[in-house]
Amino acid sequence: MALDPSYLRYDKRRYGMDHERYAWSMLVDRPKVNWPNGARIALWLSVHLEFFPLNPEGKPFKLPGGMVTPYPDLRHFTLRDYGNRVGVQRLLRLFERLRLRASFPTNAAVALRMPSLLRDLAGHELVGHGRDMDHPHFGGMEEGAERSLIAESLAALRGASGQKVEGWISPGKSESAATPELLVEHGVRWFGDWINDDMPYRFETARGPLVALPHSLELSDRQILIDYRHAETDFTDQLLDQHRFLAREAAATGSGRVLAITLHPWVIGQPHRIFALERALEAILREPGVWNATGAELCQSWEAQQSRAP
């Protein structure tokens, strides 16, 4: 038995990455980034507004959070829908009290089905998030189909809100090989699918660069409370430990850091869970040097400082 000889050929064994999407660099070696007013921590909240169809096709794969039981899976459909009816309002009330603004990656289906919800998000940032949670972008998908999916998703948000909508998170962070190019083609400036950094960086596409923002997969209510089944108080601890570490690193290096928190109203918006976020945010906001930013503001602040680099 032997493997094909090509298995021991390493065509991309070279300095840097094994692809052309971004340059290799260690965070520790990069120029300092200064946030507005000398802030050390940019607090970036992303609240996902998702529509999970009752009749998913699951092709070519299911995205996390979708239907589980045989059709009609009322329990999962309504529990997800709870987030868009009740949970999100609970979050908005909390944000209002703490004077916080958030980014809302929003499925087009949510914008079309719940126009009043979009009006309730006035003052917050809308972010492209695909059609719904049964339409992943994926390797091998037909380019024309993906182009219309992106065009339709952005048009729904732009039409309903009047916002420019220049940010994007793919459903399930799943992309095809062409997604970054198609995003640029549709006026997107930043996206948050790749989870390899704690700071923004430049991402190359054949149609010009995007800014990759450090949108968190790990520090997410769904990951920690649902997938890992940690207690609510453990979620609070992890948010606060994240802040503590990043604030110390920012002080030690003299460079700002991003504290990115990813939320799903159907998870954190439950009455028995919201306190975990509330306590963490209250504690973080008592610390000095916290700048509450949207994705667009982060992107803009970071980009404006790049021209100074060689």
Partner: protein, 303 residues
Amino acid sequence: MKDDPGLYDYWPYRDRPKIEWPGGKRLAFWVAPNIEFYELDPPLNPQRKAWPKPYPDLVPYSFRDYGNRVGHWRMMELLDRHKIRGSVSLSVALIDHHPEIIQACVEREWEFFSHGIYNTRYCYDMDEAQERAIIEDSIETVQRATGQRISGWLAPALTHTERTMDLLAEYGLTYTCDLFHDDQPTPVKVAGGRRFCSVPYSLEMNDSITFNVQNITPRRYVEILKANFDRLYEEGAESGTVMCIPLHAYLIGQPYRLEPFAEALDYITGHDGVWVTTGREIAQHWLANYYDKAVADIAAKAA
């Protein structure tokens, strides 16, 4: 296929010849950072797919890339603070991709051992020549970049063949990290009767198992590490034990995990009877002083 790997004989954990670590220490403590390169588009091994989704499966890929871009430096600074030299389980191709990381480890006199060429190239179905090729590549590439000749091996993504241990010993390596059968070094039976041993690495204390598989909280990881240490330290008074913490910068280097983790290292290195060392040094000391006694004791107890 065999019903037993045949790599070691049964040897109960009682009344063994007493191990003393250098300086009369009772527990040999080593930390093994896995410094890995995963490819975005690796060739397919017939036995195992690297990524579940079609190319580009960017989530698991970029998850791991985080370790090299961000996590490594934080983890390294934490080990510096505790005067711990890492024993690097290295995807050897990372020497070409990210020489800055290698240089930083060389400056700290860390040990390097091989973890294959990429962690997305598996040994399943390799023939002998192919397996020799990756061992030779590892020896030569690490030697050229670091001046060190590798002594240890952790199979890439823990993928083995029946002949792996024989080949490692033939090339002069002295220890394997791939066996989880004991809390002390043990002889490994290899072709030609060469002196080759298993140095306890760990899956139980490994951050990839605790976080990726068992999904435990960062603070509970610290409790588990302390409990593991306490028991091994106590038993080490009778005969020296080994504790390893295998790490991955993409996991432990996340701020919310590294923040509590520091306490575990404070605790362990705060004990007088701990020999803070590397895999190679454990293997060297044990092979020189205890290998023959172990082989004799195993034979005597089997009789």
